[in-house]
Symmetry: C2
Subunit: 424 residues, 2 copies
């Protein structure tokens, strides 16, 4: 993974932040930073439960062999990580028997009913993911789909097909799963939802989609090693962390996450939760938005080029995408496209990207931070995610904000529970 | 459709804008406003070509009877309108034989290759949509899929299955379609891409998806009638237009489009093009973002509630969603959810919405503009789209910006063409 700040239009130098970065880095390592009860993700690439990891692989294999549909029932960090990996690594039209459907992440009856219709007659597995089991969206969908399972399979078979990822010992969902003999996987106590993709939360659905999750772990292990040194000369995660803060100082209140692969749109959604939920507190934070290019050059491109000058872009490019296509020649050339004959479509995409960077930076004066992944492999996915974990923690701590809580999410819940008449 | 500004926290009164609104309204009617060569959309609900409309219906019927897949090949306004309607009206898991796949809206070879793999062995129709035929993304994909068609069908059959929506007389695509005997539909000269969903651009794919497009036209006709009067007492499109400008004056530089139905996520994407491309010029404009609730309450909710106070929300709610589900009772109640037993899931969603409005407005001090649609019918879709057309034109003209051009989109294209070595 590479970081290029040469188009970031920074007006201060990264190294001015070195002392602060060193201090925060140390506070992470010795677990004295803000929110220090939720930094289990930091050494997770080494500390993860290997026995459970093997069990995840084996259950995933069973789902793959036996299932047509896997329902992933979770919200926020309990589905965005898995979905970001599954779409990036398998694409939007994967050639796979197993279809993965995300549910329990909203309260639309129309969506639930259409999923119920869609899965009728198929071999279904259900993975419910919730630390407590009391998250309304997930609990509502889970009861509906759990009933579906018992209506379509005998008791023992339904029990085999329902898998809970939840607290190791406590909570409503753990108790329910134990009482009903469902298999369970663990959400660790010290890892928050948006940092949980390397736990069973993300890994079970990802493995079920056919991805080699060992490669993901190798990727995050490599990143864990690469980001041990806090020097802003070499640590690209911290370079990104600091560059964001400098741009914020320059009046850029919006960050747009840009990809050139439609399969990475959910990576952007995952990133928006990571950064938005980590730093949007105390009236602070850069607003995280996203676009998929070149698609959205024909919708949001105008605004970025010539609209209000309060944006910067963070590009996540891929050096070697999964497939390439040679653009065909045509003897009639009625479309006048023969000037691209025999060119690689990835090369065309790359030229569009370079032309856009030039347009946005040099004409539009919009700073561009450019990240480049080697490829869309499971290894690169793992590396990238851990890069963002470290970058996010550093960037938010530089703002004197606790990156690991989300107190504001409780306000709507409290109001909603009142309106729903939930007993205390 | 209803508009509620009681939670918009406006610190000036709409009526202060009445004189300006009257003048702009008149300049639209007498076609003297900025960008007046592109306001064909204004009276289109009455002026549209009825003979072509019938022909759209008949070709759509043929596609429905005969096709497994319709490839919609277009970018920006040439696909966002159709996709927004198709997903809102049919849902994300429609129970339909015909699958609609969007292509020609990007340059990812991986995406193109996966679509090629996915359609293999299926009965395919191809609708290419481009005014000129020279838009790179669409032209690249079209040549690739056109070759696919000739490789899989004999010449006459391929010709029957390829349909071009393009200029009525000029341009590369029109000439190509005529030379190859493809059926064509017209993109009018005075209607820009983001205002084109009521033309063949949107209507052919929408009709092919099984929607009754006559109902869409009835909806926009009703809106056309309802918004003839420029009074801010009654014209909700202009109320919305002015409210945005007042909030901008109050320092709100970001507008978040909020829906509570996942099937309306593409309506938000369509809206982002409409407003972003119309007003993001001359260093001006409100940045248009979007979220789908309750899903994104668990990702962006924290930022909205407690982050930087430069946002307002525009909610698009649905009074009567397509389906409802009665939340089931459970004798064991191991999940403690029986307090919701026999409640309607739509009611639960509504309570989540009311709780969120209260949390964001009263605790978070985030202004909320609330739009409510009666239902997700084709009629309501047509009404809503025309509402946004009128609101957008008024809101952007209030900013002294031409709402109907997109000069900034040319900058990246020019750079890209240089890099691609395109002949003059």
């Amino acid at each position: 993974m590479k970081l290029d700040l040469s188009n970031a239009l920074l007006n201060s130098e990264l190294k001015e932040y070195q002392d602060k970065v060193n201090a925060i880095h140390q506070s992470l390592l010795d677990k004295s930073c803000l929110g220090n009860d939720f930094i289990g993700w930091l050494d997770w690439p080494l500390d993860y439960d290997k026995e459970e990891f093997d069990r995840i692989k084996s259950v995933a294999e069973e789902i793959r062999n036996d299932g047509d549909v896997l329902l992933v029932c979770g919200i926020g960090g309990s589905y965005l990580g898995a979905r970001s990996a599954i779409e990036m690594l398998n694409g939007l039209y994967p050639d796979d028997k197993l279809e993965i459907i995300y549910t329990g992440n909203g309260l639309s009856a129309t969506y639930l009913q259409q999923v119920l219709n869609h899965i009728e007659g198929k071999s279904v597995y259900l993975n419910v993911i919730s630390k407590s089991g009391t998250t309304t969206e997930t609990a509502v969908a889970f009861r509906i789909f759990e009933k579906y399972m018992y209506a379509h399979y005998d008791k023992e078979e339904a029990q085999r097909r329902i898998i809970a990822t939840t607290d190791k010992a406590r909570g409503t969902l753990k108790a329910l799963a134990d009482a009903k003999n469902y298999r369970t996987f663990v959400i660790p106590d010290d890892i928050g939802g948006r940092f949980s993709v390397f736990t069973a939360v993300g890994l079970l659905p990802i493995a079920a989609s056919g991805v080699d999750i060992s490669e993901i772990m190798k990727g995050c292990q490599k990143a864990h090693k690469d980001f041990q040194d806090s020097s802003l000369e070499s640590n690209i995660a911290y370079q990104y962390a600091v560059a964001r803060r400098i741009l914020e100082q320059q009046g850029k209140c919006n960050e747009l996450f840009v990809t050139y692969e439609p399969s990475m749109t959910m990576v952007a959604e995952w990133w928006k939760q990571l950064f938005g939920e980590s730093e949007g507190k105390d009236g602070k934070g850069i607003f995280p938005g996203s676009v998929t290019f070149t698609t959205d050059l024909h919708s949001m491109g105008q605004f970025i080029q010539e609209g209000t000058k309060n944006l910067f872009e963070t590009l996540l490019l891929v050096e070697n995408p999964t497939y390439d296509i040679k653009f065909p020649s045509d003897s009639d050339n009625l479309d006048n496209m023969n000037y691209l004959a025999d060119k690689s479509v990835n090369w065309i995409n790359k030229m569009a990207c370079l032309g856009t960077i030039d347009a946005h930076v040099n004409t539009g004066k919009v700073p561009n931070i450019i990240l480049t992944l080697d490829d869309t492999s499971a290894f690169s996915y793992g590396y990238m995610i851990y890069f963002f974990f470290r970058a996010c923690a550093m960037s938010v701590l530089l703002l004197d904000v606790n990156p690991f809580n989300q107190p504001g999410v409780e306000v709507y819940k409290k109001n909603m529970f009142n309106l729903l008449g939930k007993p205390e």
